[in-house]
Amino acid sequence: MTGKLVLENLKHRPMRSLLSVLLIGVPVTLILTLVGMTHGMLEDSQHRQEGIGADIIVRGSTSTSVITLSGPSIPEAMVAKIEQQPHVALAMGVVTHAVDLPLAVSGIDMAKFNRMSGGFTYLSGHTLEKPDDILIDNAYAAQRHLQVGDTLNLINHPWHVVGIVESGKMARLVVDRSVLQNLDSSTNKLSQIYVKVDKSANIDPVLEQLRRDLPNYKIDTMEYWISMFNAGQIQGIREFTVVVAAIGVVIGFAVVCLSMYMAVLQRTREIGILKSLGASKGFILGTILLEALLLGVGGTILGILLSFGSRWAIATMVPASIQMVIVPSWWPIAGLITLFGAGLGALYPGLNAARHDPIEALAYE
């Protein structure tokens, strides 16, 4: 009966109910979108690192987190030195230059890249041939509406788009390494060195040897490096998520508090009627809380549905810059955050309603 009473109350003012659900749904979408972006961008980076086909990565001494890009600091001569190590099949130096964050252009040695990764899959055009040539992946081409033959201005330099490749290897923007080194005034310097070992059983011995020989560099297996592309491993992401969740609670609280406060005002006489029938304070409070929780559940469902819309919008408008994935494990978390805010928001109007004097409530016009 309580459920019926609450449902009929929600149906009686459909616009209020729908607006409340919509406003509660917005922070749910916000939470799920930001969590989905964090996961999506890290998964995308992880995927592109995996696509390189290396076993070990050597980073400069100034390199810190996976999402920071430090300047080229590794002498290029290190590549030859690493290749002389036993069991090292191939070493490839890469220069990375941030453009419009989180996008970066990578300068590579195309011959070595082809040997290490198996090469790019060309959707149109061909490989780098001239100094000003650039390869872009299909996501960047879609985002910037570029085709083979177009000119692309990056780092104050006009590049000639010669090929569009399938995304998933190394970077979205690829140029010749020496050209990028010259533009960066970092001739003979590298950002990372990727190392391919002859047999997987030799990865650990090679890693240990490199760490002994190059104590000032950060050297890890690619497996470990890729595992670092994890929201929990990146400083600030957890705090950022907590802040977004707190915003969700505040918005849910404010929306429900306002909505239920108005509802209680409009239903003063009905509360008086229920009290005249012997309804306890707990019953009155319970109906208000249940109504708020139903609005919260509706908002959560709508928020989840809208997050699919967010993913579609992001994938359509900025497929190269931002990637968003749906993270179903966050649905119950976002739901609980919302229900907590909704429950909190319903407490004040609910207690207000429960404390109504029945005689005054019955006389309310």
Partner: protein
């Protein structure tokens, strides 16, 4: 309290505080009502009729005096105790019907049973009462789709669904035309005669007051005459 008295009131006073001003609504009321009695209460506005009803119905506590209703002392009762008493001991019928607008007539009756902790489906005898009230075919309509007379009959059904010891009717015909007023008064008299339902009815209408066994006249917070 005499044997057979369902209401026994001695020295009842009720004072409301409006800001810093104390407003006496009842100034010493003594009243006995036998079980099965149909008592009409008349008097001008501000005479204390409604306040007396609200105290007997457990909607507000007395300021002073002894109030026994169906064997329970309301003067010493807590707010929660008066809430419990309203579930089964008294039933209210109001001038403005006071049905829950979002629920059908059937659900308006069911909600009273639910709050009282009873099965939401009324007993078979009550189905007969619904037929006598003439609303059996209108139970699936919401109040806005019912006439005033029908709404008041639903309100009466809701008030008696838990078989309360006392039915308190506050100007039950105040918003009805002559025909519907007569029908509602007949229903109340029938309930009293057939089921022995104790009824207290506030009215401004002398003709309506005539439906009771006796009439209580109130003025300035006191009972001035019982005829």
């Amino acid at each position: 309290m005499n044997n057979g008295d369902i209401i026994s009131i001695r020295g009842l006073r009720k004072t409301y505080r409006v800001g810093s001003v104390e407003v006496p609504a009842l100034r010493g009321v003594d009243l006995s009502v036998r079980a099965g009695e149909f008592l009409s209460i008349v008097g001008p506005s501000g005479s204390g009729k409604s306040t007396l009803f609200h105290i007997i119905g457990g909607l507000t506590p007395p300021t002073e005096g002894e109030v026994q209703v169906a064997g329970e002392n309301l003067a010493s009762m807590t707010d929660a105790g008066r809430t419990r008493m309203r579930r089964r001991t008294v039933g209210f019928v109001f001038q403005k019907f006071n049905l829950l607008p979002n629920l059908t007539a059937r659900d308006n009756i069911a909600v009273a049973r639910f709050i009282a902790g009873a099965n939401s489906k009324p007993d078979p005898a009550f189905e007969e009462v619904l037929r006598l009230l003439g609303i059996a075919e209108r139970l699936d309509h919401k109040p806005h789709a019912l006439s005033g007379g029908e709404q008041q009959r639903v309100a009466i059904a809701r008030a008696i669904v838990n078989h309360p010891a006392i039915l308190l009717a506050d100007e039950p015909t105040g918003n009805l035309d002559t025909e519907n007023s007569k029908a509602v008064l007949e229903i109340l008299r029938d309930l009293n005669a057939r089921a022995g339902q104790t009824i207290l009815m506030i009215t401004h209408n002398p003709e309506a007051a005539g439906y009771g066994h006796s009439t209580l006249h109130m003025r300035d917070g006191r009972i001035v005459e019982r005829t």
